[in-house]
């Protein structure tokens, strides 16, 4: 326990302040080619007549398209048995602005840009959808052949569903139904280091991949799958990330650079421009959340119905995982015994969305905490007391039936009240994670929440 309470120097601190930290873009390997992408100029279109011949005729230029990818479609969660829906490079459709179509490597950055400039394709534009709520509608234009809903949760369910207790009974018993709709927007991670990768074909037949990835083994698996190579042909070097925040969990550059290194036989380096980072890299998802709570006049939440739409952008990537986490947390830090939750991963023509700091949970925390305040406002009761009353306690269960053994909601809210000087009545001040004030518990919640006498 030497580190607890001590000022432990960062192991990389001195290197950071002396210019000795080697980020991926700082690696210098002679003969390295620059990489640039030919990307979709439209949000949604059928694509035909992709022509890279003029680029390929340029001196020292190498080009890859979908035809060069041994396994074109492989999903970020395919290793978990989740079907792939995204081609590494667009084949005959593009579904978001900036989707990669052809990738070039050339001796200089300028030559790579010139090669991209002479690649052409025809695009037949289709209506594009940017609002997850509109994309959810049954009569919305269909972005994927199987529709706008991701349909591959367990047992091929088209939604993440949670049922707990008897929600209809809870709504019958309620004094009031409190409803709210919450729609946090997309956020770009905007790391100061843009996506960057260097791949070196080694004499022993291996590829060495220097990557800014936050998820090295994910990236390794994704590259190996697309290239149809055993893992022992790849050496992935990572660990130095110039800001990620979740945006470098996706395998954005490594696979395409690996293919170009194979094809050219030369080291290649791809550093996204700031414009690419903003336009083409993944973002935190926009969400659409509708909450209806059955509440009593004195502030007990008897039941919750919730609809969540998770905007995955054009492809699902990690979204089913994010929505699953979201669903487990949809009561926030509170115990609500009767639940009906339906969550959907919905495709739009936005850039595919991904992890960002608290993937799936920050959205639901925003919604549930705002909703708690809304309930308090509608009932005219103290928002701290409403939260303390409904706070999860030892022995309560989460939406997915995990028993809470050490919930921290009560001490956290008490500490916040102290910090901001909010006065609480002695009854609430005396609350603990174990104790639920029995006198207040309405009869229809007895047996549904943890026994107040149990602790």
């Amino acid at each position: 326990m030497k580190a607890v309470g001590a000022r432990v120097p960062r192991y990389d601190g001195v290197a950071h302040v002396t210019g000795h930290t080697q980020f991926v873009d700082d690696i210098r390997i002679p003969g390295t080619l620059w990489v640039k992408a030919f990307r979709s100029p439209v949000h949604n279109a059928g694509m035909s007549n992709l022509d890279t011949s003029r680029a390929e005729a340029m001196k020292g230029v190498h080009v890859i398209t979908w035809e060069d990818v041994p396994l074109l479609e492989y999903g970020h969660l395919s290793a978990l048995g989740i079907p792939a829906d995204e081609p590494l490079l667009a084949k005959d459709e593009v579904r978001y602005l900036g989707q990669p179509i052809a990738i070039v490597a050339a001796p200089t950055e300028e030559a790579a840009m010139a090669a991209v400039d002479v690649i052409t394709a025809d695009f037949e534009e289709l209506p594009a959808l940017f609002d997850v709520r509109k994309a959810f509608d049954a009569d919305a234009p269909q972005i994927h052949a199987e529709g706008n809903w991701y349909r591959h949760f367990e047992n091929e369910m088209d939604r993440r569903q949670i049922r707990k207790g008897n929600v209809e009974e809870a709504f019958d018993q309620a004094d009031l139904i409190v409803q709210g709709v919450y729609r946090p927007a997309a956020i770009e991670h905007a790391p100061i280091e843009t996506q960057v990768c260097q791949v070196v074909p080694e004499a022993n037949g291996r590829l060495t991949i220097y990557s800014c990835t936050q998820a090295l083994y994910f990236s390794m698996g994704v590259v190996a799958a697309h290239l149809q190579l055993p893992l022992n042909k790849l050496k992935v070097v990572g660990g130095t990330v110039g800001g990620g925040f979740g945006g470098k969990v996706d395998t954005a550059t490594e696979t395409m650079c690996a293919l170009l290194a194979q094809k050219s036989g030369k080291p290649v380096r791809w550093r996204w421009t700031r414009e690419e980072e903003f336009l083409c890299s993944s973002t935190r998802a926009p969400w659409h959340m509708e909450i209806a709570d059955a509440v009593t006049k004195d502030g007990w939440i008897l039941g919750r119905k919730m609809l969540t739409l998770h905007d995955s952008g054009a492809y699902s990537r990690f979204s089913p995982y994010g929505l699953t986490k979201h669903s487990f947390h949809h009561t926030g830090a509170y115990s609500i015994p009767n639940l009906e939750f339906d969550g959907y991963v919905v495709y739009t023509n936005r850039t595919p969305t991904t992890a960002m700091r608290g993937f799936g949970v920050t959205s639901v925390s925003f919604a549930t905490e705002t909703h708690m305040s809304r309930i308090a406002l509608e009932l005219g009761i103290d928002p701290y007391e409403l939260r303390l009353k409904n706070a999860n306690r030892i022995g309560d269960t989460s939406p997915n039936q995990i028993v809470y053994t050490d919930p921290s909601t009560v001490p956290t809210i008490l500490a916040i009240a102290d910090a901001v000087g909010h006065e609480l009545t002695p009854e609430y001040r005396a609350m603990t994670p174990g104790q639920r004030t029995g006198d207040l518990l309405p009869e229809h919640l007895v047996g549904q929440l943890a026994d107040p006498e149990a602790h």
């Binding site: 030497k2 580190a3 309470g5 001590a6 000022r7 432990v8 120097p9 960062r10 192991y11 990389d12 601190g13 001195v14 290197a15 950071h16 302040v17 002396t18 210019g19 000795h20 930290t21 080697q22 980020f23 873009d25 700082d26 210098r28 991670h189 905007a190 790391p191 100061i192 280091e193 843009t194 990330v241 110039g242 800001g243 990620g244 925040f245 550093r271 421009t273 700031r274």
Partner: protein, 170 residues
């Protein structure tokens, strides 16, 4: 063209309109200035040109022919760090480290021109520098500490044991 980079006279082969950033990083192999946006917006490429902070990504090398360029490598080495470098490590002002070089060069210029430890003035001086990790508080603390002449031994913690690698803390 010629540059004096961190005290060393250097001949530059790159074209006249090549950015100073590319000359430093790609031709001379000095990689502490970073290509964060290459549009003058983030500050990660900042170096000192004759003592003044400049966005090297927007500076054609021909415009600084004959100038003295200072980068983080010229402030101090791991064995002999400058006060601003010590303060950045001590205050955990570098998290991912990517904006750190530009941030420190702007801070050094501010200190060199007699800036105070007033937090608002430091904010003003670092205003064009984007850090996505720290929230800036620790960076401003580090600059203020340097202005006040505080110095730190970056290898010794409050626990009294030299620990240079978290892996050693068991």
């Amino acid at each position: 063209m010629n540059l004096t980079v961190n005290g060393v006279e250097t001949t530059v082969e790159s074209g006249a309109l090549t950015s100073l950033l590319d000359v430093l990083r790609e031709e001379l192999g000095i990689t502490s200035p970073k290509a964060g946006c290459e549009a003058g917006g983030c500050g990660a490429c900042t170096v000192l040109v004759d003592g003044e902070p400049r966005r090297s990504c927007l500076t054609p090398v021909a415009a600084v022919d004959g100038a003295a360029i200072t980068t983080v490598e010229g402030l101090g080495s791991p064995e002999n760090m400058a006060p601003i470098q010590q303060a950045f490590t001590h205050h955990y002002a570098a998290q991912c480290g990517f904006c750190t070089s530009g941030m420190m060069m702007a801070a050094q210029a501010y200190i060199d021109r007699g800036g105070s430890d007033d937090h608002e003035e430091i904010q003003e001086a670092l205003g064009g520098h984007v850090c996505r990790c720290t929230g800036y508080v620790k960076i401003i603390d580090a600059v203020a500490a340097t202005v006040r002449g505080e110095s730190f031994d970056a290898t010794v913690t409050a626990a009294g044991t030299a620990m240079t690698n978290l892996g050693g803390v068991a």
